[in-house]
């Protein structure tokens, strides 16, 4: 079952990444926020993001686990640009956008769970099948 605390921790970590990349983009400084996020991505497998769900068919739940896995992979693919001394503006703005997209899908899942939609949708799926 999904753990809210895991999702909260993931949201805070990804939010920290968005902060770090934005500050790098706007001020040109490599902050502890950015360093933390790079380390976080290197040590955190997708299974530990808190997005696994065992309570209903994926199609009812907007495919959150797959969407989150894809969004995370997109971040991982682009993250190496931060290893460069001076990443290009395009690289940084691209990375910033996909981190924000990643945050958005995590937040969407978090809000769905918190609002109780899961239970309502589950009830609906039980009735219709």
């Amino acid at each position: 079952m999904t753990s809210l605390w895991k999702l909260e921790a993931s949201l805070m970590a990804v939010g920290t990444g968005a902060t770090g990349v934005s500050l790098f983009q706007d001020y040109g400084v490599r902050t502890p926020e950015m360093k933390y996020f790079i380390d976080y991505c290197r040590r955190t497998p997708v299974a530990d993001l808190g997005a696994d769900m065992a309570i209903a068919p994926d199609q009812v739940y907007l495919g959150f686990p797959e969407r989150i896995a894809q969004a995370y992979q997109a971040v991982l693919d682009r993250l190496p640009c931060l290893d460069k001394d001076i990443p290009s503006k395009e690289e940084l703005s691209g990375l910033r956008k996909i981190i924000e997209d990643f945050y958005t899908v995590l937040y969407e899942m978090y809000s769905t769970l918190k609002s109780g939609n899961v239970r309502l949708e589950q009830a609906a799926s039980t009735i219709h099948t």
């Binding site: 939010g15 902060t19 001020y27 490599r30 902050t31 502890p32 933390y36 065992a54």
Partner: protein, 468 residues
């Protein structure tokens, strides 16, 4: 409206203060709870949440605000313009501010739910009994929710804040801002007492059929704290390995599934055969889907069915009667999985070996299992005649004779007697007649039985202290 540019975060900080007051008020209202031990546990939980709210406040003031103030002094390259603290907070740390609010609200909500939980208090003691077997004395609270789960308070309170707390203590990289925002490790300053929550399905709080699932969560919790699974794994030695239920999945996933089955095997040994019925019943009520954390239902039922196939006891007819009720149900269910190909011979072989390893570990732990409790019941009950003969019956509250399965059913359901029978023995009897007597309709009587058993245990304990 407050002037945010002069006092950034004031409204948020004020709200956190309100949440702290709410938690304090809930702690004061715990006096209505008649059980001191449960009250004390909830008080500790409340204090942990207060510590959590204080941590959120410090994250906001000592980390976010300080960081924003640092950047407010810096001109942006290119434009040379500076931004206000509010602009910086909103633009760069808006997400963390938003989540901090949710997390703080969550602390207050959790505690309100735990303090007002609708689960019978007697079920706390079902868990305390298991804790006692492992000499485990940490705090426990029940949290009404929409699923069964266990969670430590470090997970509930500290983990969501971890990234911020870690960033706060990091040393600054060369060529960046010189001054660390929070030079000390804030995480070590947050004083949480070791505590744990077991989530239960709120709408099922008075459904005795699902009460045994609390045993499963108790083992999860103990495993989390005491490393029971790892202990069992090390006993397996190098010749045996954990089951690979799906070779297509990575080792980590298969290991998580093994842990889940480990809790099931421990739970059925501890609670007794009707755990299997409870598990199957829950799967029927809640559509079950395999996930990273949970293996196929067929694997779980196959593992608990191994217990049903091998368990034996000559003490009373409780075990045989319970088995005769639930074995055919589980066997039918497993036959369906076999026919559909969901439960393969390879998986069964893996589970057979694993079951033996877990059962062997349980024996080595010397905890009181269901069959041990049956033996103890018979030993105690056989003293009933002796008590009357020696005319010392007035000095002890009561010693019941040994009741047969049918006598327990008759007393509890027909004669409306609240028997002071061990809760696990009682539930293994009453759930095994749930086709005739809907347990949900008798939950109050069952709770009363559990209450009387606690009173009897307290008397026994007092008497043994006097003798000593």
């Amino acid at each position: 409206m407050s002037d945010l540019s002069k006092q950034p975060l004031r409204s948020t900080l004020e709200h956190i203060g309100e949440l702290e007051s709410d938690v304090s008020s809930t702690i004061r209202n715990l006096a209505r709870i008649p059980y001191p031990r449960i009250r004390f546990n909830l008080e500790i939980a409340g204090k942990n949440y207060k510590a959590g709210l204080d941590a959120v406040r410090r994250v906001l003031t000592e980390y976010l605000l300080t960081r924003a103030q640092q950047f407010a002094t810096l001109p942006q390259p290119g434009t040379g313009k500076t931004q206000t603290v509010d602009e910086i907070l909103r633009k760069y740390w808006g997400r963390q501010l938003n989540m901090s609010y949710h997390i703080a609200e969550g602390f207050r909500t959790n505690f309100a739910l735990e303090a007002g939980a609708n689960i019978p208090f007697e079920l706390y003691f079902l868990v305390f009994d298991i804790f006692k077997e492992f000499n485990f004395e940490e705090t426990l609270v029940f949290r009404p929710a929409d699923q069964f789960k266990s969670e430590t308070f470090e997970e509930t309170i500290l983990e969501p804040l971890d990234s911020i707390l870690q960033v706060g203590k990091q040393t600054i990289l060369p060529g960046t801002l010189e001054q660390p925002p929070v030079p000390r490790d804030l995480r070590t300053e947050i004083q949480l007492k070791p505590a744990n929550a077991i989530w239960y399905v709120s709408g099922e709080a008075h459904n005795p059929i699902l009460w045994p699932l609390i045993i499963h969560e108790s083992f999860h919790l103990l495993d989390n704290r005491l490393g029971l699974f790892q202990e069992m794994e090390s006993l397996m030695g190098s010749t045996k390995k954990l089951p690979v239920l799906d070779p297509a999945k990575i080792e980590q996933v298969n290991k998580k599934w093994s842990k889940e089955i480990f809790q099931d095997i421990a739970a059925v040994h501890y609670f007794g055969p009707m755990y299997a019925f409870s598990l199957m019943n829950y799967f029927e009520r809640l559509p079950y889907i395999r996930s990273v954390e949970h293996p196929e239902m067929s694997s779980r039922l196959y593992a608990v069915n191994k217990y049903l196939q091998t368990a034996h006891s000559q003490h009373t007819d409780y075990l045989t009667r319970a088995l005769s009720f639930c074995k055919p149900l589980i066997t039918r269910e497993l036959a369906r999985y076999e026919q559909s190909g969901e439960l393969s011979d390879e998986v069964k072989t893996e589970l057979d070996m694993f079951y033996d390893a877990v059962a062997s570990w349980l024996r080595s732990r010397r905890i009181t299992l269901f069959t041990d409790r049956l033996a103890r019941y018979v030993a105690q009950g056989s003293r009933a005649r002796e008590m009357v003969d020696k005319q010392i019956i007035d000095r002890v509250p009561y010693v019941d004779p040994i009741f047969t399965f049918d006598e327990v059913v008759d007393l509890v359901f027909t004669k409306k007697v609240s028997l002071a029978l061990d809760p696990t023995l009682l539930l293994n009897v009453v759930l095994a007649v749930s086709d005739k007597y809907t347990p949900q309709g008798y939950s109050e009587r069952l709770v009363d039985c559990m209450y009387k058993c606690r009173v009897k245990q307290a008397w026994d304990l007092a008497l043994s202290s006097i003798k000593a």
